[in-house]
Amino acid sequence: MANKTVVTAEPSKQELFITREFDAPRELLFKAHTDPDLYIKWVGPKDMTMTIEKWECYEGGSYKFTHERGGHKYAFFGVNHEIAAPERIIGTFEFDGLPERGHVILGTTKFEDLPGGRSRIVHQSVFQSVADRDGMIQSGMESGVNDGYEKLDELLAEKLAAGKGA
């Protein structure tokens, strides 16, 4: 069974949703979001070096991590508003690579239990403006930096083929 990432971003809204199912219980999924040793293994793009500089995984704690490639370093940081194991994480998110500070995103990630030892992520990002949201979608920032369009085209083709087969 293929677990498919679904991104919903309606025109002219300030939010986007990401959902996906996983073949693991939600406790584990939650752990992969809160344990820095696990988090670092999957969040960064493959061709970049990720470093966690700060990781205060509790309410009011803050975090900062960087992605580095070819001498360029990008930082992502924010504050944890709620860490409710194993069901919910709420916090802010900001990227220092933008031309100006202050474009903060409020993220809510819910971890839902599914039968058969499976689980689902439902993530909502709320942006300060429609332009902020669209800018992020267009830059692909959420996943770091695009690995190049060719690879992406292949991936899209695979996804489309898989979608048709289903």
């Binding site: 677990n3 990432t5 991104v7 999957w42 669209d134 959420e142």
Partner: protein
């Protein structure tokens, strides 16, 4: 102005919906459907033209408006690309979860 910003305004979305429903409308037809003044609607049409969400054909004295679907498809493309990026990341997470499951079941034995 980009597609998203052009779409953010309710009057402009109404205009697009009308055009999509009717196939095409003259500028005058569009003006008639709103209580707002023609210059205000004209301004919205200008934004829609600049964002390439509509195209215009001139017929005699009339300007006929059509929906141009391409920018919408562009938007869909970006979202798909974004989803593909997220999927790549979640596949890495799948691997992390599998490794954790294996490690945990081992430690139980």
């Amino acid at each position: 102005m980009d597609t998203f910003t052009a779409l953010a305004e309710p009057t402009r979305r109404s205009i697009l919906e009308m055009l999509a429903a009717s196939g095409n409308l003259s500028a005058t037809d569009i003006y008639k459907r709103f209580k707002t003044t023609p210059p205000a609607i004209s301004q919205h049409l200008k934004v829609l033209r600049e964002a390439k969400l509509v195209r215009v054909e001139r017929r005699a004295q009339k300007r006929i408006y059509y929906v141009n679907p391409e920018p919408m498809q562009e938007l869909e493309k970006w979202i798909k690309q974004f989803a593909a990026n997220m999927e790549e990341r979640y596949q890495a997470l799948d691997a992390v979860l599998e490794a954790e499951k294996a490690r945990l079941s081992k430690s139980k034995d």
